[in-house]
Each structure stands twice: as C-alpha cells, then as structure tokens.
C-alpha cells in the first residue's frame, strides 16, 4: 500500500516549483585571474519589468565557473544591445576581453524573443550570435545556454550551466521522525521540484543518460528497494525488491541496463539488470562486500567498491564479466567512484584516519590527487563537462553540498535553506531548446 504523503508530493510534481533558490551557492575559493567578460544588461522593450534578467543569470553562472570574471555593469561606459551600438574602445578602456550583448522582446501570447551576441573586444569581431523564441518559463534555461556558449567560446570547453542536480534533503521533525525529499533543481539552485516525499530514507539518485528518469533507493517499505521514476510524468516502477539489500543503481551509457547491488544470494554483489527484459546477470562472486558500481562512459567496464582485500578499495571488471582488477593501493579506504565523462579519471572518497575526502584517480598513471579539505565528504558526482565535481559534506553540523573544480582550484558551497542536503547527482547535459 502506498503512503499518502508521497502521493501528494508526486501530484505536486505536475505543477512547476516556484522560481526561487532554496539552494544558495557561494564561491569559497576562486581563481585569481579569470578572463574579464562584460555582460551588458539586455535590452527590454516593455513597461513591466522583464520576466527574467538574463544578463544577471549569465553573470552569476560565469562567476561560478571560477575561470571567467564577469565585470560589474556599474563600470560600463555604454550599454549597447546589438552590434551597431557597440564602440569597442569603450570596452578596451575598461579592459574587458569579451563582450556579450542582447535583447529581450515580448512577442505576445507568452512568447519571447531573445537575441544574443558575443564579441572579441580586441579584434572587434563576433564570436557567436543566437536567437531564441521561447516561453517565459524557459528564459532561465536560455540564460544558462548563453552562459554555456560564452564559456565554450572563451575556454574551448563545453559549459555545464544548462544542467540540473538531483539531491536528497532531510528535515528532522522530532527525535526518530524525519522527512526525506528527493529533489531536482537547476544547477544554480533555482526551481526545485520534489520527486519523492517520504518518512523513510532515500539514497543514491542516479540520472538516466537521457536525463528523463531517476533511479534511486527508497526505504518506504522498511527495507531498501530500487525504483525508476520518469520525471515528466511522476510514473515510477519498482525494479528491485529481492530479499536483502537492493541498492546502488547505476545506468549503463545506453540507458538500457542498471547495475545494482543485491544481497539476495547471501552478501552484497554486483548484478546487471536489463530494464526491458528484466533479466538479471550476476557480475561478482565473492564473500566480501561488493557495492557502488559505476559504468565507464564507453560501457566496457564497471568500477565498484569491494572490501575483498580487507578494507574498501576500487576495482574494475569488464561489464560483460570477468576477473576484477584492483585500482587503488594507497590508503585503507577508497570507495564510491564516479567516472569523468572522458573516462580517464575517477572521483572517489578516500579515507585517511578519521577524514574522508574527495580524491581523483588518473587511470592511466594510477596517480591519486586529493581535491578537498573536508572531514566527512561523500558522494562525488562529475559535471557532464568533466570540469566540476559536486559532492556532499558537513559544515557547522549540517549536511551541505559543495563543488570543486577538477583541478582543485575553485570551490563552492551550496547550502539548503530548509535542512540537511546530501546525495547529489549532476544531470547529463540538458537537451538544447
């Protein structure tokens, strides 16, 4: 029998959440010399304020990247909205290297046109120009896509601003009574939507490669079971409810299989479930704990955590089956791997004494690099452009999320206003509007 509380939340999913941030992001460490970018407030023809301040959203995105330095509009000598209005010397004078201008226009009937251009200030030449026709509720996404374009043109790498994050929040009402929410928000913390509302724990949200579904572990039946839920409709399916543990879902890159941890045969082992045929294939056979599977981006391998050598270490096994090969040798606790999108690195949790921190393993060389300075870091999740790693940590007695750049130089903290937050998962790239 389903509980009423989560039913109500799922019905609420059909309506969009309020456009405010319950997750606030602060940069706790940035790069000194970011490229100075001038993002001019967009032109707007209308008496009422515009439905979105696109330039402000873009500036906020670029500031979070830690690599670009959006300039303060108070320093601008002019405010062009299109190429014909630009005097490049105004921008060279204030040492901007790139200039973004644009316009927002209401077309009537909830349709808006956004026009945007990016210029190289030194050369005076256009780097990009785009036009969008969208609804008001899509304007934040347009702003994030503009941020992605600017980031890509200036750094040579794809941006990850037009993405989402899934996370779990916990509010402790009274001793022994907690409320757990599985939420999805834009990666800048805006527009959170509740996917599941429960009095029992929720763990391990995992995005399908097409970004349309989340797999997760729910204790709503008083023991861990794996569900797959379609975000747009709220439809959910229980895919694993065997005896014992059902947990740690991980999607194959083609979206057709889930690697899972099941202890139905006596102890936690890695299995692969075909979502269509429902057939189950066992991948590990060992008395040890085998858990936290993750697929390599090319689908050929599964990396997992096992304590078959005495304590948790990372292992890699061919996805089709075979003998696992150990990957980590330094330290007594290495667990919970997350693959970089290029397949060359693993973010994971490294335990040393009483400290648990996010580290990077470079697969080709075996070199390990510790990225964070926390004590209780967990659940690292790579951004789809491989540049940032989102993870959970503890700050002042509360669970918070944090992000660190893959080179360790940029750090951010994401604080949830309403309780503890944990178990973050960064979505794949959103599909273009």
């Amino acid at each position: 029998m389903m509980k009423r509380s989560w039913c109500i939340a799922l019905l609420g999913l059909l309506a969009a959440g309020p456009a405010r941030a319950v997750l606030t992001i602060e940069i706790t460490q940035g790069v000194e010399a970011g490229t100075p970018v001038a993002v001019v407030p967009f032109g707007w023809e209308g008496e009422a304020p515009p439905p979105a301040d696109i330039a402000a959203i873009v500036r906020s995105d670029l500031a979070r990247s830690g690599r670009l330095a959006p300039m303060d509009p108070k320093d601008f000598l002019s405010r062009p909205h299109q190429q014909s209005e630009i005097r490049f010397k105004d921008w060279r004078l204030i040492k901007a290297e790139a200039l973004a201008v644009g316009r927002l226009r209401a077309l009537g009937g909830d349709r808006y046109r956004v026009q945007f251009q990016l210029f190289d200030v030194f050369k005076g030449s256009q780097l990009a120009g785009y036009r969008y026709t969208v609804r008001a509720d899509q304007l934040r996404r347009v702003a994030h896509q503009i941020s992605d374009i600017i980031y890509e043109k200036l750094t040579g790498e794809p941006g990850a601003f037009d993405t989402r994050i899934a996370y779990v929040t916990v509010q402790r009402r009274s001793p022994g009574q907690s409320r757990y929410l599985l939420r999805v928000a834009d990666s800048d913390g805006y527009g959170p939507v509740t996917v599941l509302d429960s009095h029992e724990p929720i763990l391990s949200p995992a995005w399908s490669p097409d970004g349309k579904r989340l797999a997760y572990v729910s204790f709503e039946h008083r023991r861990p079971m794996v569900y797959v839920q379609t975000l747009a409709t709220g439809e959910r399916r229980r895919v694993a409810d065997y005896l014992g543990i059902n947990s740690a879902p991980a999607w194959s890159p083609n979206g057709r299989q889930l690697a899972l941890v099941l202890s139905r045969d006596g102890n936690p082992e890695i299995y692969v479930l075909d979502l269509r045929s429902r057939s189950l294939r066992r991948l590990t056979r060992h008395l040890a704990i085998d858990t936290e599977p993750v697929w390599s981006p090319d689908g050929r391998y599964i990396v997992f955590t096992s304590d078959r050598a005495g304590g948790p270490q990372l292992y890699r096994v061919p996805a089709r089956g075979g003998t696992p090969e150990r990957l980590t040798f330094d330290g007594r606790y290495n667990a919970r791997a997350s693959f970089s999108p290029d397949g060359k690195r693993l973010a994971f949790i490294r335990g040393e004494g009483n400290r648990f921190q996010v580290a990077l393993l470079h697969l080709a060389s075996g070199a390990v690099q510790v990225l964070t300075g926390g004590f209780l870091d967990e659940s690292p999740s790579f951004a789809p452009n491989g540049r940032m790693i989102l993870y959970a940590t503890e700050q002042g007695g509360r669970g918070v999320l944090a992000a660190v750049s893959a080179d360790g130089r940029v750090q951010q903290r994401l604080t949830y206003t309403e309780g503890d937050v944990r178990e973050p998962a960064w979505s794949p790239f959103n599909r273009r509007l």
């Binding site: 389903m2 009423r4 402790r172 724990p201 439809e235 102890n267 335990g351």
Partner: protein
C-alpha cells in the same frame, strides 16, 4: 495531447494507489520505533516479552561494533546469548535484527556493513539454537543514527544492531 493523456493516466494511477495509505507509527525515542521498548509505543510488547526475565530493556537490545567491523566482542556476545536463550524458550516469537553503521565513509558501503553486522548477530543466534526462519535481518546503513553528533561518542552508539521483537 498525448502527453496530457499520459499525465492524466498518471494522476489516476496515483490517486488509485493513494487511497488508504498506512500512517507512520509514532516513534518512541531517538532512532527507535513505536514497537521497540522505551517510552510507550503503540505495540509495546516489550513488557510482555520480558516481564521480569533475565534480559534488561533498552540498553540490552543493542549490540555494538568497532569501526568497519562486524565482529562481536565478549560483552556483546553475552547480550546476544541472552536474547537467543529467550528465543529458544519462546518458540513462536520472530525476531528482527536491524543493522546500522556510523556516518563515516560512503552510504552504500555502510548499508552493506549494517547488513553484515545484522547477519553476524543472526549467525551467532543460530549457533545458539535459534531457528534461521525466525530471524529477519535488515540494514539501515547510516540512515537512522541514534546520536547525531560528529564525533566518536556519537559514532560508537550508531555502530549497532538493534534486536526487535514485533512485526512491523
């Protein structure tokens, strides 16, 4: 329109399933559920189960462990033995062993560790004569801590198996 139809069906399915959900039982004390002893829970069987018997309430329902270990030391063995003796003397009663871990390390590994601890207690009980089919094991990993601190005194309390006597 197809999408609306799907959403509509989705709503109907949810509504159908939503009718008559079970409420959550009141919890009796940190980390414990209504059916476990402590302050008054709805189904407080503990009084009946142990009325005046050799096994104490509350403190003796938990078995504790060292970090990343499922080994049961002398003192904790004695607790398990007392419960096993009780179970052998009262054949009809099932028992649930709920395994937990402290917050350090990763959540999924801790889920597995909690299960390993519960199964270690189950194995000991079986060795002491309790039939396997009376024992249910479940793990909550680090998800239901007894103590919320971020230090060893909290962690020590959370590395545990709870011995529970009523059906959920």
């Amino acid at each position: 329109m197809y999408k609306q139809l799907l959403a509509g069906i989705g709503v109907l399915v949810l509504l159908a399933g939503c009718g008559g959900g079970k409420g959550v039982k009141g919890d009796a004390g940190v980390g414990e559920r209504g059916v476990v002893t402590g302050t008054a829970g709805e189904d407080d069987l503990s009084g009946q189960a142990f009325g005046g018997g050799p096994v104490d309430r509350a403190t003796q329902r938990r078995v504790h462990f060292a970090f990343d270990s499922a080994a049961i030391d002398e003192a904790n063995r004695a607790i398990v033995a007392a419960h096993a003796a009780y179970l052998v003397d009262h054949p009809g009663i099932p028992v649930t062993l709920e395994g937990h871990a402290d917050e350090r390390g990763t959540r999924e590994y801790n889920l597995a560790l909690g299960e390993r601890r519960a199964k270690a207690v189950a194995k000991l009980m079986q060795a002491l004569g309790v039939a396997a089919d009376r024992i249910t094991t479940v793990s909550y990993g680090e998800e239901r801590p007894l103590a919320l601190g971020h230090n060893e005194s909290a962690w020590r309390l959370n590395r545990r198996v709870e011995i529970l006597y009523a059906d959920q």
